[in-house]
């Protein structure tokens, strides 16, 4: 029986290295670990934490800090954030030097294109799985679709969309 904090640290560290597409790609994994495997929080709390991290200033990845905080207070928040940072930070530190010094331009571009396509695939699958878990009503799905349409076809700032979502929610439509 290892403490929840160590288990959170190890699991998040492991996923940091394969999270092409950033935290967004990692969210379904995070949901699986925290809700289904470890039962630290329920789906509703996960969804609420996701909303808080979206609305707060700073990187959206801070949902990780909220989950760590729930698991074991302020120390948990710091440990979870550190876990998500360190492997990918060390990797990018060396990767950028390597890519910048790379002589073979074709190999360099191959790596970039391949990683780009992985990131697209992972972010899209992540949003698909998140929608299934987080949107609990037809109205919620409609709001998600509306947010997609407004982002793609207008130049609205994301903050307006978040405010719109919050307003629709407070009025009891979701």
């Amino acid at each position: 029986m290892i403490s929840p904090l160590i288990s959170l640290f190890l699991k998040l560290s492991a996923f940091s290295l394969v999270a092409f597409g950033g935290i967004n790609a990692l969210l379904p994994v995070l949901l699986k670990i925290t809700v289904e495997q470890e039962h630290w929080i329920d789906v509703q709390t996960f969804s609420d934490f996701f909303a808080i991290a979206q609305a707060a200033p700073g990187p959206n990845g801070l949902i990780v800090a909220l989950i760590g905080w729930k698991v074991s207070g302020l120390l948990g928040a710091l440990v979870a954030t550190l876990a998500i940072c360190w492997p990918s930070s060390i990797m990018i530190f060396f990767l950028q030097r390597y890519l910048n010094n790379m002589q073979d331009l074709r190999a360099q571009r191959t790596i970039q294109f391949a990683a780009g396509s992985l990131a697209v695939g992972l972010v899209l699958s992540s949003s698909w799985e998140l929608a299934l878990q987080i949107d609990q009503s037809t109205a919620a799905y409609a709001l998600t679709a509306l947010a997609v349409a407004l982002t793609l076809f207008t130049r609205w700032h994301p903050l307006y969309l978040i405010a719109l979502g919050g307003l629709v929610g407070v009025l009891g439509f979701i």
Partner: protein, 183 residues
């Protein structure tokens, strides 16, 4: 390539990224560009785009990767650590304070509705990020097969993230290699 060799101290990087972290409502990257390129002029627009390109293809949070790249460019490892710490420091405190408020008020139906609305929009924001990224893949349609394979393995077969990457990476590299020939 560093002909001007600008130097920034770790503490300048820390405060700069502190401001970026605090101003980043609804996504930090636009603010990072505004601060780094337009206000502070640490990097030229071209340098910024090239750096961001690498940060977006690498795994891990993009904005944090950017902090590592910018920090290490100007002040080595200490600069990287200073930039990342600056970026995360204030937002962590804010988000934990919000978490405490949530503990107190999450029983209220209005708060529950508020968060349900925001999270539905949040999912939409992530989906549209993915769709915007997808647009660039249409320039070489075979690349869409790599995207599709990733999604099928992740969504339909429910494999863990690590497996998805391991299985699809060779395929994606193969198509990407052909794409470079095609260009």
């Amino acid at each position: 390539m560093d002909n001007h060799q600008k130097k920034l101290s770790p503490s300048e990087l820390f405060t700069g990224f502190c401001r970026i972290g605090l101003s980043g409502f609804g996504g930090v990257l636009p603010w990072a560009r505004r601060t780094i390129v337009e206000k502070e002029k640490w990097l030229s627009p071209e340098e910024f785009s090239a750096m961001l390109g690498i940060c977006q293809i690498a795994p891990g949070p993009n904005i944090m990767n950017l902090a590592v790249c910018v920090g290490s460019k100007f002040a080595g490892v200490r600069g990287a650590v200073a930039a990342v710490t600056g970026l995360m420091f204030a937002p962590i405190i804010i988000v934990v304070l919000l978490g405490m408020l949530y503990e107190c008020y999450s029983f209220m139906p209005a708060v529950q509705g508020l968060l349900r609305g925001i999270s539905a929009v949040g999912v939409g924001l992530i989906a549209s990020t993915g769709l915007k990224m997808l647009r660039t893949e249409f320039r070489y349609p075979p690349m869409l097969m790599a995207v599709a394979l990733t999604m099928i393995i992740a969504i339909y077969f429910h494999l863990a993230l690590g497996w998805v990457v391991l299985i699809t990476a060779p395929f994606a590299l193969l198509i990407a290699w052909r794409k470079t020939q095609h260009d």
